[in-house]
């Protein structure tokens, strides 16, 4: 082998080994940093300063901040922490840098308001974010929808929710659900169908995967809550008719109160408890349910149940 060829072979080998070693070490650094990273920090909260620093490239900076907000929420949620203190400023900076970027408003409506661990527990901040969005995008029906949604889910203020949906129904380009939602708020605010319609609209009108999954989880939880409510009503009817509680779900079927064995979204039959309550078999596998839980158990957390 000539000297030049030998050098080439050695250099190629060093290059490949270094590349592979570098990737391995980098993975190790990543794992180490995840374990040991100190509290996340947002060093610059002033949009004015950021505007100056980025030499006017605010769009790109807004994109970076938006990505960071999503990553931040995902990482905090995944790690099971209840601390989402940076979510509001990250979304605020993003929307101030680019007030026409819609996903941050929707994200804020879905995840700033709900109490930890499913959100930041800052409904006031979520409302301020949406009002800022409406101020800068008065013709976008989605923002009114998100505001109405927030009033409905977090504030339980159905009158204001109806008002937001009505305003959203009046913009030049709107969604067919808006006037229906406005009407339902006035008459059937507390009903399962209303909540279902809201979550369904959320699912339909976003492409953001986290928000869609959140909507699906809530829709499934609503189904369980409704099933459990109806089954418990049936149990009470059975008791009124026979003078005793049914011993199994099959008793209800035999008595003609139900048809078939009702199952939860995981295709597991509901359990009838000795005191007449209905429970789901694996409550932690269905996030957000408020009914069908063992006594004293809190509503399960999304993304951490198995």
């Amino acid at each position: 082998m000539s000297r030049t060829r030998r050098v080439n072979v050695v250099a190629s080998a060093v290059l490949l080994i270094s590349l592979a070693g570098g990737v391995l070490i980098l993975s190790a650094i990543d794992r180490l940093k995840i374990r040991t990273s100190s509290q996340e920090a947002l060093y610059i909260r002033s949009t004015k300063t950021l505007r100056r620093m980025c030499l006017g490239y605010t769009g790109l900076l807004a994109d970076i901040y938006w990505t960071r907000a999503v990553q931040y929420f995902g990482e905090q949620h995944h790690s099971g922490t209840r601390d989402f203190r940076l979510l509001a400023p990250l979304l605020q900076v993003t929307t101030e840098l680019d007030p026409n970027m819609m996903p941050p408003y929707q994200f804020g409506a879905n995840f700033l308001g709900p109490p930890p661990p499913n959100g930041a527990g800052l409904p006031g901040e979520a409302m301020a974010l949406l009002k800022y969005g409406i101020e800068h995008n008065p013709d976008n029906w989605r923002l009114y929808y998100n505001l109405g949604f927030l009033y409905f889910t977090e504030f339980k203020d159905y009158a204001k929710a109806a008002d937001a949906f009505t305003r959203g129904a009046q913009v030049p380009i709107t969604n067919g659900f808006m006037p229906i939602l406005a009407a339902r708020m006035a008459q059937h605010a507390g009903e399962f169908d209303t909540a279902r319609m809201l979550w369904y609209t959320t699912y339909q009108t976003t492409k953001e995967a986290t928000i869609r999954q959140n909507a699906v989880d809530h829709l499934l939880a609503l189904r369980v809550d409704e099933d459990v409510t109806k089954l418990e009503e049936v149990v009470q009817k059975y008791r009124a008719q026979t003078g005793h509680l049914p011993s199994t779900i099959a008793d209800l079927e035999r008595a003609g109160f139900i048809h078939g064995t009702p199952e939860d979204p995981n295709q597991k039959p509901y359990k009838l408890m000795p005191d007449g309550r209905i429970e789901v078999q694996y409550p932690t596998s269905i996030p957000y349910i408020t009914k069908g839980l063992p006594p004293g158990m809190e509503s399960p957390i999304a993304g951490q149940s198995k």
Partner: protein, 258 residues
């Protein structure tokens, strides 16, 4: 070490000193002493923070600029002055020339950083009146900055082995910026899927990860740095530099110098 590599390295260092590269130390001294005096006047309780943040940031930026602007000229200048032919006609092999240049440049930066580090610690002593145990993390941060220089030197040498000085400077600086945002890049790769995810992951792992070397803020706050991170960063810097230098050797071996 191979004595021919040592000669090339020593001459590279000597040339950098002759080119008045170390004059940047004067600018650094003025800046850091000015900052130390100023923060003593205007800051409340954050004097140490400001001195460490400012000092280490300037050490890093000055070093990167020196590494880029000297590194890109290492090969082209030798060709332009025709001194390369004299060197290579002696029993100096091409790979020895490349490795020697790399070592000479990193040596220059180590010396430069050493003097700047003295400046940082003098400024710290001035504002805090004493050294603290947490100051050891400032030394670790400086060590990481030196590791960062190894990679930047290797990259600038790699690009200068096949490109013009201006393009080499642009490429190296662009990689420095991208590498400084490497964590965000990997975060982006984690949330993308399919083909985009694969491409983003590949890019995220191939570009140098400078963000792992930047612990300036932790050092300023006196936060401890895990020993494992020191080990991993050292290995990573050595491997990445070896990779870039091997690439430079491979290209330089094939390059027609006539």
């Amino acid at each position: 070490m191979n004595s021919r590599i040592g000669y090339v390295a020593f001459n590279t260092f000597r040339e950098a000193v002759r080119d008045r590269v170390l004059y940047n130390l004067i600018a650094f001294a003025v800046l850091i002493s000015g900052a130390a005096v100023l923060v003593g006047e205007i800051s409340i309780d954050i004097e140490r923070l400001v001195v460490v943040n400012l000092g280490l940031t300037v050490v890093s930026l000055f070093g990167v600029v020196i590494a880029i602007f000297i590194g890109i000229g290492l090969v082209s200048k030798e060709i332009e002055r025709r001194t390369l032919y004299t060197v290579l006609s002696r029993p100096v092999r091409r790979w020895e020339f490349v490795v020697g240049k790399f070592l000479g440049l990193t040596g220059t930066l180590v010396v430069n950083t050493f003097f700047m580090a003295i400046g940082v610690f003098l400024a710290l002593l001035y504002v805090a009146h004493k050294f603290e145990r947490a100051d050891v993390w400032v030394i670790v941060a400086l060590y990481f900055i030196v590791l960062e220089f190894l990679i930047v030197c290797a990259l600038s040498l790699f690009f200068s082995s096949f490109s013009t000085p201006i393009m080499s400077a642009l490429f190296t600086f662009a990689l420095f910026v991208i590498g400084s945002l490497a964590e965000d890049l990997r975060g982006f790769a984690r949330i993308t899927h399919g083909f985009t995810g694969a491409v983003a992951t590949a890019i995220a792992y191939v570009v140098p990860n400078f963000s792992a070397f930047n612990i300036i803020n932790q050092a300023a706050h006196g936060f401890a740095v895990p020993g494992q991170l020191i080990l991993y960063n050292t290995l990573y810097a050595l491997l990445y530099s070896a990779m870039a230098i091997s690439g430079a050797v491979l290209i330089f071996q094939r390059r027609n110098l006539k």
